[in-house]
């Protein structure tokens, strides 16, 4: 277990290091001089040179790279070229919004998707199964922002149950939850669609296994067979899917945040892109990578809790 963790952390370090290098290079290959972006076309040559010096862009590439790595290790991802604030600070200011949205969507999606998948499997080739399969297909094919816009139009504009703009200004918990409700739902529906489908297929496979027959032969009730014996054996594929789609969920949150005018990583990355804020951009890519690496590691560790046969070597 310890050596497994050590090895996986080693891989994580290598992954992050590669991403840092790649990001550093890409930003320097991209067309457009950041100094001109900041100062505009009319800037005097003297001020261009001065800024270039201040940003360290006059140094040789290797020196820049070394400095970049050293700072990144210390958690310093540089300062934003536009706002002048530290990138780490900018990201940390909006990260909680994205995390709370993603986690809430994940929990809601799993809470709805797992029972729906189980139900579809138990009622295989009957009406509930057909309906759930159709709905989950719809969920998979509907882009996140379309679902978001539909929700917005129906529940915020037509019925006025929830606010149209979900940004800030929430003093009470109820208010905050009201603001979160629609964006969470928009993301959770997609998550639910994935989880329903994988739960259904995993359950169908498990329900035909010998040990399910053994459980029934013991006299166990139908609900004990389904929820205790069968579902316990489905959790590995379900966890795998959750782990895989958590990355997609974070990606989807970009569009959702824009539709609902919510602060978060999505909005931030859009701003950084449109303003050619290279340092902010490279910082955000690093943070995204970090999140994916952590999610993968957590998924692997969860397997061990779910299945006694999993050994960490």
């Amino acid at each position: 277990m310890v050596s497994f963790l050590a090895r996986r952390l080693g891989f994580a370090v290598v992954t992050l290091f590669s991403v840092l290098t790649l990001v550093f290079l890409i930003v320097r290959i991209l067309p457009g001089d950041p100094v001109l972006v900041i100062l505009g076309d009319q800037a005097s040559p003297a001020s261009v040179i001065a800024l270039r010096q201040r940003l360290g862009l006059d140094q040789p590439l290797l020196v820049q790279y070394g400095r970049f790595l050293l700072q990144a290790i210390q958690g310093d991802l540089g300062t934003s070229m536009i706002s002048g604030r530290p990138v780490t600070e900018e990201i940390l200011a909006v990260l909680p919004y994205t995390l709370e949205l993603t986690i809430a969507a994940l929990i809601l999606g799993a809470a709805l998707g797992i029972p729906a998948g189980v139900w579809a499997a138990v009622r295989r080739n009957r009406l509930p199964d057909y309906v759930l399969r159709l709905l989950s297909l719809l969920g998979l094919s509907l882009p996140a922002f379309v679902a978001a816009i539909i929700l917005l139009m129906v529940f915020a504009i037509q019925f006025r149950w929830f606010p149209v703009i979900s940004a800030g200004g929430a003093d009470t918990l109820t208010e905050r939850l009201r603001q979160m409700a629609l964006p969470t739902l928009a993301l959770a529906l997609i998550m639910m669609a994935y989880i329903t489908r994988v739960t259904r297929s995993a359950m169908l496979e498990v329900l035909s296994q010998d040990f399910v027959r053994t459980a029934r032969a013991k006299g166990a009730s139908a609900s004990a067979v389904i929820w205790s014996h069968a579902l316990g054996n489905c959790l590995i594929p379900i966890t795998t899917v959750i782990g895989l789609y958590l990355g997609i969920l974070i990606g989807n949150s970009v569009l959702t945040e824009i539709v609902f005018s919510r602060p978060g990583l999505g909005k931030l990355i859009l701003t950084a892109l449109s303003q050619r804020d290279y340092t902010l951009l490279q910082g955000m890519i690093v943070v995204y990578t970090l999140m994916v690496v952590v999610v993968n590691l957590l998924t692997d560790l969860t397997y061990g809790f779910l299945d006694p046969r999993v050994q960490y070597k």
């Binding site: 050590a6 010998d210 040990f211 053994t214 032969a217 013991k218 006299g219 166990a220 006694p308």
Partner: protein, 595 residues
């Protein structure tokens, strides 16, 4: 018919049971009875309706598809009239089941204590410490070593035999009136089977439960049954006491089942033959020159662990194995699962890593590093595998499956290859017109014929048959073995016949080698090895094989129900096993001398 030869009222009486799936009737008008403390063996091949019958008794037929009519009386209650919740109290309480596959019949993510406890909780209402104590008692009853510790273990930490004991504990936990055992020992090694049967018999004596024992193996029937019911195609074709059925079988089908049991085994000669020590390795064979010679073959698999996958040890799967096979000769390689017999076959054709050893085919030593040498090896040596379903490409017509290797090796192509393929299909008893059919259109036995034809397409000198008939029903198995014997005469091909099935080995093999923990412990002519086994392990293996007639029950030594942990084949890196020495029992009959 009901409860023959017993004055007691039957525990279970089935009459006029008819089972249908949709519009197909799979069991017709079946009637039988079982008295307390009695064992009824239901015998038949796959598809005969024996397992379906047990599921119907349990009320576990597939929902909405399976229908059962007639009556299944447990005491005075007709189980077919009970609703699901009433049936649940019967299942596991009054009737419990033991299934065939110990590897898949237990829930892999639940502790075995919880799985046994579930039945006790449902039917006896015990909880907490009381429940745990009841589970421990059951574990002790089925002789699981260290029950206090094992109760909290998961199924994957148990061997097949131990898992089947867990299943038995589960089945006996609520003192059922009847246990239905569906092929409970079929997946087990023969020595483990003998122990499991002994345990079941002993527990039956203690508890007086009735057992409905479903099997395809007449040897097992001879061991344990009081009454026998032979089923074929959903009908009972013969019924009677075990002595009646074995001594005076009325139906030809029953006679063929009884005849399929190994006949040499169990007729062990008395006394031991004085042995002479010999030098060297036992490389005798029949004929002038060996087709295959294996010298000092060892196969080791690395076992890695730790942070950087450091080599922790090596699994000695095959250790210093030497043997030879003559032209047109069949050598049987027998042993229990994990003994390394399949690994030898794989190592010969380069599917397993050889640690050391020399392999010579038709006088030419194989150089595995030389592509030309390998190509000729792959032409001269062909394989037939156990699973006829998995060893054919599901999307390739059987004709092209047979033609493909001929083209690959440039033996024949175009019209010539097609003609040879059609001729081969005819030789193995299939209609050449079906050459364009896909594998799923054939039965298991037919697919094995296709695999044989594919192997013969290369005009090989040697065919390695790895459990080639083990997955087949008794009657089909006999047909395939006869086909292999006929083809051997016609093509003068040699076989390395790897099997755990002594009846098959006895029928097809000229010589037999016995494997134990990666080593050959005894090798010699079939009649010598089976009739006068010299090595202790061979004797143990042969005495575990079920008897062929119930009259022999008293004659055989009692089976110990013990729990010796298996010897570990894992050795430290660089371990050098002691050199082997052999004793000659008779011409060509060698046993390993204890080191």
């Amino acid at each position: 018919m009901v409860g023959k030869n017993t004055s007691d009222k039957p525990v279970l009486s089935v009459s006029g049971l008819t089972i249908a799936f949709g519009s197909t009737t799979v069991v017709h008008d079946l009637s039988f009875g079982i008295a307390a403390g009695e064992t009824l063996a239901v015998v038949g091949e796959s598809g005969s309706g024996k397992s379906v019958t047990s599921l119907a008794i349990m009320g576990l037929l597939p929902e909405r598809i399976g229908r059962a009519s007639g009556s299944v009386k447990l005491g005075d209650r007709d189980l077919l009239t009970l609703d699901e919740s009433e049936m649940r109290s019967v299942r596991g309480g009054q009737i419990s089941m033991i299934f065939q596959e110990p590897m898949t019949s237990l829930n892999p993510v639940q502790r075995i204590g919880d799985q046994i406890g579930e039945a006790i909780r449902i039917h006896r209402g015990l909880k907490g410490a009381e429940l745990r104590e009841a589970v421990l008692e059951m574990l002790r009853k089925v002789r699981i070593p260290d029950p206090e510790e094992r109760i909290d273990n998961y199924p994957h930490t148990f061997s097949g035999g131990m898992r089947q004991r867990v299943m038995i504990a589960m089945a006996l936990a609520c003192n059922p009136a009847l246990i239905i055992a569906d092929e409970p020992t079929t997946a087990l090694d023969v020595t483990v089977q003998a122990q499991t049967l002994a345990l079941l018999k002993e527990l039956q004596r203690e508890t007086g439960t009735a057992i409905l024992f479903i099997t395809h193996d007449m040897g097992v029937v001879a061991e344990i049954a009081d009454h026998v019911l032979v089923m074929r195609r959903g009908r009972a074709i013969e019924q009677g006491t075990v002595h009646e059925v074995f001594s005076n079988p009325r139906d030809a089908y029953t006679r063929s089942l009884i005849a399929a049991a190994p006949s040499l085994v169990g007729k062990l000669a008395d006394g031991t033959i004085p042995a002479r020590g010999v030098e060297g390795v036992p490389l005798s064979f029949r004929g002038d020159a060996p087709v295959l010679e294996v010298r000092d073959l060892s196969v080791r698999f690395p076992s890695r662990g730790g942070l950087f996958g450091r080599l922790k040890g090596e699994v000695h799967a095959v250790e210093q194995v030497s043997f030879a096979i003559g032209k047109g000769e069949t050598l049987g390689l027998v042993g229990e699962s994990g003994s390394g017999k399949s690994t030898i076959g794989k190592a010969i054709i380069d599917l397993a890593p050889r640690h050391s050893g020399e392999i010579t085919v038709a006088g030419r030593r194989i150089d595995y590093a030389d592509p030309r040498s390998l190509a000729s090896l792959r032409r001269d040596v062909q394989m037939i595998f156990q699973d006829p379903f998995g060893s054919l490409d599901t999307r390739q017509s059987i004709g092209s499956a047979i033609i493909e290797p001929m083209q690959v090796h440039g033996i024949a192509s175009g019209k010539e290859a097609r003609a040879k393929m059609e001729w081969l299909l005819e030789r193995v008893g299939l209609d050449p017109a079906r050459a364009t059919s896909l594998p799923h259109e054939f039965s298991g036995g037919q697919r094995q014929r296709i695999c044989i034809a594919r192997a013969l397409a290369m005009s090989p000198k040697l065919i390695i048959a790895d459990e080639a008939v083990s997955a087949l029903d008794v009657a089909i198995k006999a047909q395939i073995i006869d086909l292999m014997i006929d083809l051997q005469k016609e093509f003068e091909v040699s076989y390395l016949f790897i099997s755990h099935d002594m009846a098959a080995v006895e029928r097809i093999c000229d010589r037999v080698a016995v494997m134990y923990f990666g080593e050959i412990v005894e090798i010699g002519a079939r009649d010598d090895v089976i009739g006068r086994p010299g090595h202790g392990y061979t004797q143990r293996l042969l005495s575990a094989i079920p008897i062929t007639h119930p009259d022999q029950r008293s004659a055989r030594p009692p089976q110990r129900v013990d729990a010796t942990p298996p010897r570990s084949p894992m050795k430290p890196v660089g371990y050098r096993p002691p050199p082997q020495s052999w004793e000659m029992m008779a011409e060509g009959h060698f046993i390993r001398r204890a080191s």
